[in-house]
């Protein structure tokens, strides 16, 4: 394998084939809460990708010096510092979105995706591949967020990025917004459906059944 293909596979594998959300069950917590509108979903995706990439780079640079026993604390402190910086930037320049995201930006700190990647990958690899891996995982996460955010905002309010796309029935159009799309349950249903679609197309991702149905006994002649 040449280094070029490995670069591409490291970057593109997490997009769908190794998607952190649909396959590895990482980082779901925030993935659903911020997807009522596309703007918050995109902000969250960008913030997470930046934090993840930088954290992976930093941890990978000092990976030889972190004592094994306190590595979790060290990683969390690094991630938390990055998150504080992002949070302050958002509060300063995007006050509206920052208010809409409420505590969820702070929760990037405990996003399992960040610690999962630093723990599983950045701790054993050189800075450059770790950052590519982290960036790829950030993109995979963003992909899921943007798909769900688009569906929820489009059908919940008829808008995309706050711009009216489907004319509302109240204002002489034909579209009646689905209030359910803005509530919590729809996010679960949509993500469940997305997992189903992804795993049906890439069938090797499907989980094996926990119990196989008992074989029907041969009818006795």
């Amino acid at each position: 394998m040449t280094s070029r293909t490995s670069f591409w596979t490291t970057l593109t594998d997490p997009l769908i084939r190794q998607n952190p959300v649909t396959l590895q069950i990482l980082g779901i917590c925030s993935a659903l809460a911020v997807t009522t509108t596309l703007a918050t979903a995109v902000t969250m995706s960008v913030s997470l990708t930046i934090v993840l990439t930088l954290a992976a780079g930093i941890i990978s640079v000092i990976r030889m010096h972190i004592p094994d026993t306190i590595r979790l604390i060290v990683q969390i402190v690094i991630v938390a510092s990055l998150v504080i910086v992002i949070d302050q930037i958002l509060q300063a320049y995007f006050a509206d979105i920052s208010r809409a995201l409420s505590v969820y930006v702070g929760l990037i700190t405990t996003n399992c995706l960040v610690l999962g990647r630093t723990e599983a990958y950045a701790r054993y690899h050189a800075p450059w591949p770790s950052m590519i891996d982290a960036f790829g995982n950030g993109l995979g996460y963003s992909f899921v967020l943007i798909v769900i955010g688009t569906i929820r905002e489009l059908f919940g309010q008829g808008q995309l990025f706050g711009v009216q796309v489907l004319p509302l029935a109240d204002e002489g159009g034909w579209f009646t917004p689905l209030g359910l799309m803005l509530l919590a349950p729809s996010a679960f249903f949509l993500l469940g459906g997305l997992v189903w679609v992804v795993r049906s197309v890439w069938s090797e991702q499907a989980e094996p059944p926990e119990h196989s149905p008992p074989l029907r006994p041969e009818p006795i002649e």
């Binding site: 969390i76 949070d87 929760l107 399992c112 059944p209």
Partner: protein, 204 residues
Amino acid sequence: MSDAWSFFLFAAFVDNMPLTLFLGLCTFLALSRRTESAIGLGIAMIGVLGVTVPLNYLIYQGLLAPGAWVWAGQPDLDLSYLALIAFIGVIAATVQLLEMLLDRYFPAIHAAFGVFLPLLTVQCAILAGSLFMVERQYTLTESAIFGVGSGVGFAVAVIMLSAIRARLSYADLPAGLRGLGIAFILTGLLSLGFASFAQMAASP
């Protein structure tokens, strides 16, 4: 008294961590395969949330909030931006301490759900409990009730989900829906059920 009780119900059911606020879903889904592990996780959540939220309240009000250093002649000092690191530190330390205490004095309990404790350091719901406490400006009593209440809400939800999943593991589902897919849809249905609690709280 009834105020405290209704606030407890609010924290446990209306503001249910996994089902309404999407918090702590990673462990919620990963550990709801079997009922035993779900019960262990639920108990650990109640314990850790009940301890860390009031503890973080004391630390926030005593050291970080704007004006907390008036006695030292620093009335303008505002350290609230350090809250995230402080909270994470407190949570990590509490979890570690809890694990060591359990290991020393209750080895049976430790063997049963000690494995879930380290996971809770990076649990969104636990950190969120403390962050909500700051954002909504709870008092010490309120934050204690909120901590225990949201822990109980989490435990109820995760045990219910695990019971349903245990039944469904015998069902013949489409291949792509097995495991994670159906778990999401079940969570959505549970979440619909819990949404009715929000109505209940609004009515009296």
